[in-house]
């Protein structure tokens, strides 16, 4: 992975930087020892590593502002970091950068049930936001599979989604306000507990900007009362086409399930071998979950079963109790673990229009033959967000490169089919160089103009999202 050359002037001033930061932060909030900065050398995309110059762990918005002002002053790049679970290398440091971690900022600032909002510091983990409102039976809807570990900070930066976003939306649809610090230390408030932020929708731009426009320190999030209940049904088919048609028919029928998950045969087999969930051995599996009272659930599931039956399923299994529901989800939830058991794997995240599903799956099969690597598909079918898992052997020379080339072909295929490179994981460094497949240089220019406006010196989270060649002139001029 090509990264910009570290700035020797910055490397040379490390000691000076540390001493200035000491006037702002407690000693234990500055990590500059080379052994310890290692802890920040990568995120969950572990193929790429580079220890930062140093890392800081501020506790307040004021400290974040002071740190940024010093870095701005000394021309030091800053990489914001939540929990480091990005799968796109979004939090990958450069050797001349300061990692600014918000992990110590994890307080709940205000819980407001009548207005259905919670305000938190962004270092708080996703799951613990729901945890904070559980006593009143409320929850925070976006639920990435990494929710135990990932922070709201990273969720906002990546506009993360989850299994239930078909009904509840992704992060941007549930984010009402932020406190954010610009690279020059300016603190900006956007939105709040009211539903409509006024003026230009800067909040909407911040969400999904991958830490390149500002450091988000606090967030106001929408919370909801939990549904009365939820129940899945498992439907097996002997072809991907038919499974795809069934998804489309369910959606057209007027039912809006909270989740429709799709697994193909290689994925079903791997999950079954690993988790023994009792899945049928078939070509394609759907897990469809609906919510409501007992009667509402039964009504919706009856309709879904009726639609599925028209497509001659090889298996149709409704959960009769909580235990059976858990078994239906068991395989799906262990998909990543199952793959990890067999092999090293790379998880892709392109989105396609649901209608092109059969075509895309067929092409992926052909590409798999061509590259000589196996691939298993599991994905959020209701919204077309695919997660092809390419299996490779990290110890075999050349396998990672073949895997990356295969992955790039799949993502280009998603774009050709009318979709996009990434549905929820973000571009980071991983998909940076594919951006010109989805957008023209002119389209990217409009995005770079936003970066110019928020971070004119181009110091925040360098070398992510855009191809280096596209940003070079701006970085040099900054």
């Amino acid at each position: 992975m090509e990264m910009p050359r570290p700035d020797p002037a910055v490397l040379a001033r490390k000691a000076q930087l540390v001493s200035r930061l000491r006037t702002i932060l407690a000693d234990d909030a500055i990590i500059h020892d080379e052994m310890e900065t290692r802890a920040y050398e990568c995120d969950a995309l572990t193929a790429y590593k580079c220890p930062p110059l140093l890392a800081v762990l501020p506790s307040t918005t004021q400290e974040v502002s002071d740190v940024l002002r010093v870095c701005h002053d000394m021309n030091v790049p800053v990489v914001p970091r939540g929990s480091g679970t990005s799968l796109a290398g979004g939090a990958l440091p450069t050797a001349d950068s300061v990692i600014l971690g918000v992990a110590r900022m994890n307080d709940v600032l205000e819980t407001d049930y009548p207005n259905r909002v919670i305000r938190v510091q962004t270092g708080r983990t996703n799951l613990s936001v729901s945890g904070a409102v559980e006593e009143e039976e409320f929850f925070y809807a976006p639920d990435p599979s990494s929710q135990l570990a990932c922070a709201i900070a990273g969720n906002i930066a990546m506009n993360s989604g989850g299994a239930h976003c078909l009904k509840y939306g992704v992060t941007t649809n549930n984010l009402l306000g932020v406190t954010m610090v610009l690279m020059d230390g300016t603190v900006v408030e956007l939105g709040g507990a009211h539903l409509d932020a006024g003026g230009l929708d800067l909040l909407g731009v911040i969400c999904g900007s991958e830490g390149q426009l500002g450091v988000v320190t606090e967030a106001t999030l929408r919370i909801l009362h939990k549904p009365e209940g939820a129940r899945p049904v498992l439907i097996g088919f002997d072809s991907n086409e038919v499974a795809g048609a069934c998804v489309s028919d369910i959606i057209k029928s007027g039912i809006l399930p909270v989740a429709i998950e799709f697994m193909d045969r290689p994925c079903i087999r791997a999950c079954e071998a690993f988790a023994k969930a009792g899945y049928p051995d078939c070509e394609a599996l759907l897990i469809v979950e609906v919510e409501g009272s007992e009667a509402e659930i039964a009504f919706q599931l009856d309709k879904i079963k009726e639609i599925a039956n028209r497509h001659n399923p090889v298996e149709l299994r409704e959960a009769q109790d909580a235990d059976q529901a858990a078994r239906i989800w068991l395989g799906r939830k262990s998909a990543f673990g199952a793959m990890g058991q067999i092999n090293d794997y790379m998880c892709l995240d392109g989105t396609i229009p649901v209608s092109s599903l059969p075509f895309v799956l067929r092409r992926i099969g052909e590409l798999s033959q061509k590259f000589g690597l196996e691939v298993a598909n599991v994905f959020h079918a209701g919204d077309g967000n695919m997660h092809p898992l390419i299996l490779f052997d990290a110890n075999k020379p050349g396998d990672l490169e073949t895997c990356e080339a295969f992955g790039a072909e799949i993502l280009k295929l998603c774009v050709e089919a009318g979709g996009c490179l990434t549905g929820e994981h973000g571009v980071g460094v991983e998909k940076r160089d594919l951006m010109l497949h989805q957008y023209t240089a002119g389209d990217l220019d409009a995005q770079l103009a936003v970066k110019d406006a928020f971070d004119p010196r181009w110091l925040l989270n360098p070398a992510k999202v855009f191809p280096l060649a596209v940003t070079e002139a701006r970085r040099v001029a900054a």
């Binding site: 259905r116 809006l256 009667a295 389209d443 409009a446 928020f454």
Partner: protein
């Protein structure tokens, strides 16, 4: 006044690039924004590019009339989730609202509280910026985090950053049944308490409005399959027992009135739209003492008719929120921005519209 009506995005781009003065961009002209400059109408960019009911997606040119889109969706039992408001009677305008105008103003209807804002339904845009460049952002799939989200930036920017030419949007199934619970005689404080309780329940409330007056009415909407609506009406009855007698009724008419802000149709003076936290709404309303008013979004949105001399923004001082002047004069249309936000907004404007020719001054 002369009006040009380009028939293609390319023609529009060429016109903008060659423009030597301000442009007044209009869709259907129903929002009543008075602008000076050469009039550019989007009526020539009309038509459906793609509609996939099974994927809940629709791609249309920006000048397409909303009525046409709604009719198309109705055939498949689908609808625009955000319930675009028809502002013609309230503002006193004519014309046919276009989908581009709906997204450019980002005014969401009653279902905002459950299905999201107008901008939340927007998946992708094509637009022509102030320099005449054609730009695409987002796409037509429901999940897309590829690059920065300029789709949101375009929504609600009133054509001041770019002229929308094509929009891709998410649609939703149209509910089989609509049921409404109606309370009579609640004070604004009681009404907000009742609406908050309903919205904080598991019963998936899709509308919560209050119309004050001599006989105040509070409305709570439930949508879905018939049996499910009946069930939830019964449950909410019990949850809201403390708020007195309640009537349940079926049908959508009353929600069309809420959507189009009918309680203010006969009012004189200025019309303000105020976004606040629901619990702050009763106090704001008390301070304003409007001639006519309505609370939507469980109290989170106040519509108020005020004398031309009265500044609604004084009532929002000290609480989170903002006020927009939608009809009348005497005050800036938009709430003043904080200094750091204004600085960012101005920098963005300088980038997207370097000559300052797109609806100049409209959002100041």
């Amino acid at each position: 006044m002369k009006m040009i009506c380009p028939k293609s995005e390319a023609a529009l781009a060429e016109f903008v690039a060659g423009a030597d003065g301000p442009l007044a961009v209009t869709g259907g002209g129903t929002q009543g924004v008075a602008l000076s400059g050469a009039r550019v109408s989007l009526c020539g960019l009309s038509g459906v590019e793609l509609y996939e009911p099974g994927a809940l997606t629709l791609v249309v040119q920006s000048g397409t009339p909303v009525a046409k889109i709604e009719a198309l969706l109705a055939k498949e039992n689908q609808q625009l989730a955000f319930e675009p408001r028809d502002m013609r009677v309230l503002i006193g305008t004519q014309g046919d609202p276009t989908i581009g105008g709906v997204f450019a103003t980002n005014l969401s209807g009653p279902r905002r509280i459950q299905a999201g804002a107008t901008r939340d339904s927007l998946l992708g845009v094509r637009y022509v910026d102030g320099a005449g460049q054609c730009v695409k952002n987002g796409g037509r799939v429901m999940k897309n985090v590829t690059g920065y989200d300029l789709v949101k930036l375009m929504a609600g920017s009133y054509g001041t950053l770019g002229i929308l030419t094509e929009v891709a949007l998410k649609v939703l199934p149209r509910p089989e049944t609509v049921g409404t619970l109606r309370f009579v005689g609640l004070t604004p404080v009681q009404a907000v308490a009742a609406m908050s309780k309903a919205l904080g329940s598991p019963y998936d409330v899709t509308g919560a409005a209050h119309i004050p007056g001599t006989e105040p009415v509070t409305l709570i909407r439930l949508e879905g399959f018939e049996a499910s609506v009946q069930y939830r009406i019964a449950e909410l009855h019990a949850v809201l027992a403390e708020f007195g007698e309640v009537h349940a009724e079926m049908g959508t008419d009353v929600w069309r009135d809420v959507r189009d802000v009918k309680p203010l149709h006969a009012a004189s003076g200025n019309i303000w739209r105020i976004s606040v936290k629901p619990s702050d709404a009763p106090e704001v309303l008390a301070q304003l003492e409007p001639e006519a008013a309505m609370m939507d979004w469980g109290g989170g949105l106040i519509w108020a008719a005020l004398p031309e001399s009265q500044d609604a923004r004084l009532a929002v001082e000290g609480v989170a929120g903002h006020a927009t002047l939608l009809r009348g004069d005497g005050f800036p249309r938009f709430h003043p921005e904080s200094a750091p936000v204004a600085k960012l907004a101005n920098r963005l404007r300088a980038k997207f519209d370097p000559r300052g020719i797109l609806n100049p001054g409209l959002m100041r």
